[in-house]
């Protein structure tokens, strides 16, 4: 939890010696609270205060980084329970499960397919983040499976097993990477911790109850491993909400350090594809940092990727595109001009339709403060005046040989006013939904 300037001040020497470059200890404390300076700038602070301040300046949910050749995933660092309070920062990573009992060739093929999957949503290519390799036998089998996975992907890995020696065989194939290993328990935690430390890996920790979990993580931390991930052993929807809420609330609201780590969810354990998707949906909305899936199907994974994107957008900043004139399918001066807003979802729904129609066109993206057509219209950011202004500002007239413009069907009411704002122009009203644009364009072309 953030610590106030006053609280920091109480721990400083209060001599106002200025060695830190600030006129008073109080001034320095305020800068420190705002994270604009480092504590080390004050040479006189006591060891005790240092330790205290370091502990309180730790993020409430630790940042965990996985890294492999060319890929990096950061999870954690969350500061709010509800996204409207600020935003959720680091999207949970999606990992697909591979078992080392499968044929290596089959593993490579499956991993390749999933690794290559990229679906475009509002101009962003959404992909999987990595793979989880589950040990079901000896170390040699795990090592072979890891090699088979590495033949199909460079993305970060999670290794799952309960025998440190077996896991060690798998980790041996992943030198120089930052992986996540699972799972440390009250029984095996010492050897698991040693293994994680030796391989610079992060470690998933679990226990039979949240009480025991709270006892276990400080022990592991004390043994020198701060990079932990919590597995609260969620088995269904009801305990998913309850356990993840307890963990996240205690970390954020109570600054309870033993739970100050990201959470891993295993929807794949449901064993049924539909339930797996539903549990993953819950995991995205309720605080999971890593989500392990098994059934890969583009049609369902697409939905989960989009949900994650949506829940983790900053509520203060709608995703926007640059206003301006976009030329689609190499339009000539005779090509039609359409107008829309600069909300990303709106822009891409329309631009994709024009593009896939194969017909050329100009898309004037008006500056509507990043709002959808109707929202912007209702808020007064997408009216005849604004459209006319942007027609002039972006030099639409110079690009075309005609004087006509197509409005979105939802704002047909604007056509009268726009005629007044753009004298001599023909104002046409297009369909309401972008899906119907290709048919409409064929008809007007």
């Amino acid at each position: 939890m953030a610590i106030s300037g006053i609280e920091i001040y109480k721990m400083l020497p209060k001599t106002n010696c200025k060695d830190c470059g600030f006129p008073t200890c109080m001034a320095f404390a305020l800068k420190l609270a705002a994270k604009q300076v480092e504590l080390s700038a004050c040479p006189h602070v006591s060891e005790e205060a240092k330790a205290q301040l370091a502990a309180s300046s730790e993020p409430p949910v630790r940042l965990i980084t996985l890294e492999s050749d060319g890929h990096k995933l950061e999870v954690g660092n969350e500061v709010v329970l509800f996204r409207h309070e600020k935003t959720f920062y680091n999207k949970p990573g999606f990992f697909f499960l591979v078992k080392d009992s499968e044929e290596p060739a089959a593993i490579t093929a499956r991993v390749k397919e999933i690794d290559a999957f990229a679906v475009n949503y509002v101009g962003i290519d959404l992909t999987v983040d990595g793979f989880a390799v589950k040990s079901e036998g000896e170390g040699a089998a795990l090592a072979a499976a890891v090699e088979a996975v590495r033949a199909g992907t460079k993305r970060p890995l999670i290794l799952i097993g309960d025998d440190p020696q077996v896991l060690s065989a798998g980790l041996g194939k992943l030198d120089g990477e930052k992986t996540l290993i699972a799972t440390a328990t009250p029984e095996n935690w010492e050897a698991m911790t040693d293994l994680a430390v030796a391989h610079k890996a992060s470690l998933v920790v679990t226990a039979g109850s949240l009480d025991e979990l709270a006892e276990l993580t400080p022990k592991i931390k004390e043994k020198g491993l701060p990079n932990l991930v919590l597995d609260p052993q969620v088995s269904n929807f009801n305990d998913g909400v309850v356990k993840n809420t307890i963990l996240r609330r205690m970390a954020l609201a109570k600054n309870f350090r033993p739970f100050g780590f990201p959470i891993i969810a295993y929807p794949y354990k449901a064993g049924v594809p539909e339930v797996e998707i539903a549990l993953a949906t819950q995991a995205i909305t309720k605080y999971a940092g890593f989500i392990v899936l098994e059934n890969f199907a583009p049609e369902t994974f697409y939905g989960l990727l989009v949900l994650r994107e949506n829940i983790y957008t900053d509520p203060q900043k709608p995703i926007q595109v640059q206003p301006g004139v976009y030329e689609i399918n190499q339009p000539s001066p005779e090509a039609p001009v359409m107008v829309t807003t600069n909300f990303s979802i709106t822009y891409f729904s329309v631009a994709n339709e024009i593009e896939s129609s194969g017909l050329p066109g100009f898309l004037l993206v008006a500056d509507a403060e990043g709002m959808s057509v109707l929202t912007a219209w209702a808020a007064g950011n997408f009216d005849a005046e604004q459209i006319a202004k942007d027609v002039k500002r972006f030099g639409v007239e110079e690009k075309i040989s005609h004087k006509s413009i197509i409005l979105p069907g939802h704002v047909a009411v604007l056509s009268g006013e726009l005629e007044e704002e753009l004298p001599g122009w023909e104002i046409k009203v297009g369909p309401r939904e972008a899906v119907d644009l290709p048919a409409y364009l064929k008809q007007v072309a």
Partner: protein
């Protein structure tokens, strides 16, 4: 548990609302549905029990719709030609209640009439014993013209009339009062606007145990995050004791998701979108579960398979887990 659980202390609760009347209460429904009554954020069982489960409605139309996806028309088949048969099929598919949404025109394109609307509502009440919601086509004057006779014809059934908006709530509220019905009010994704609308409805004379609130939502990929957050904020406000935000929340997930391209269109879409039918069902299911996690009390759906999947999640969500 030895850990002290991080319980929040709330002073308010969501209003409990009963939809539908059985014979004992002067109606003909086989069972009534109770929603609301929560005293915690969604399913935080360690603070308090969740008294009533979120309920699932299936939407049916008075005429076979010409703008619905063929996936939906195929799965409901012949029943779409007859609201009574459709109601029966929806009940058999496991709905807790039904939404009859009235069309603006008949299949020939002529304006819908009060007679036809009443006939459809009667057919639905005969076809199924489930509690009923009836929505107009969404144009103020037409809504009033169709819904008032429907409200009269369904007197005593405790149906939900919708949708009340700030400029168009008086007539619906008046007819709900006269006939013992309920209303649902909808404001565009804004806590204060939802509050204001509830104040207007209450001032017009309808007690709050007969008011539902639709905070408006967007589908997955089309604004769901705004719906999610406004619902969380409304529930927080309700728990903090703000009476005008304590109405149970109803969201029309079927309507929103089935107008997205992902659900509507099977051909000429990117290959990475995969199988159409499963994608459409997932779109509806993911949207529904996300909003249930944010506090939805009534979720309106269109596809029976989505209903089955969401119901399975609710069945589990509603029971308190064992924490060792």
């Amino acid at each position: 548990m030895a850990l002290e659980l991080p319980k929040d202390k709330w002073s308010g609760s969501v209003q409990e609302v009963v939809i539908g009347a059985t014979a004992a209460d002067g109606g003909t429904r086989t069972a009534a549905v109770t929603v609301g009554g929560e005293t915690t954020m969604p399913f935080v069982h360690f603070e308090a029990e969740t008294p009533n489960r979120p309920v699932l409605a299936l939407e049916i139309k008075d005429f076979r719709p010409n703008d619905w996806s063929t996936l939906l028309l195929d799965v409901w088949g012949e029943a779409t030609n007859d609201p009574g048969a459709w109601a029966k099929a929806a009940e058999e598919a496991g709905a807790d209640l039904l939404l009859l949404s009235l069309s603006l025109t008949d299949p020939e394109g002529n304006p819908n009439t009060p007679e036809a609307a009443v006939k459809a509502a009667k057919a639905v009440l005969e076809g199924s014993g489930l509690p009923l919601m009836v929505y107009g086509p969404g144009q103020a004057e037409v809504d009033n013209e169709l819904l008032v006779p429907v409200a009269n014809a369904c007197q005593g059934e405790r149906i939900v009339l919708g949708i009340c908006e700030d400029k168009n709530y008086r007539t619906l509220v008046a007819t709900a009062m006269a006939n013992g019905h309920l209303v649902v009010g909808r404001a565009p994704m804004d806590v204060n606007l939802s509050k204001q609308l509830n104040i207007l409805i209450k001032d017009a004379g309808l007690p709050l145990d007969r008011v539902l609130m639709d905070p408006t939502t967007g589908a997955l990929g089309y604004g769901i995050e705004y719906g999610f957050s406004v619902m969380e904020r409304l529930r927080l406000a309700a728990l903090r004791g703000d009476a005008m935000t304590q109405s149970p929340m109803s969201v029309n997930v079927g309507f929103e998701t089935w107008k997205t391209k992902e659900s509507k269109v099977g051909d000429d879409v990117p290959e990475t979108w995969g199988d159409w039918e499963e994608r459409a069902i997932s779109w509806e299911t993911i949207t529904a579960i996300t909003l249930i996690e944010a506090g939805a009390d009534i979720v309106i759906l269109r596809h029976p398979e989505s209903l089955k999947r969401v119901r399975a999640a609710i069945d589990n969500l509603i029971t308190a887990p064992e924490l060792s």
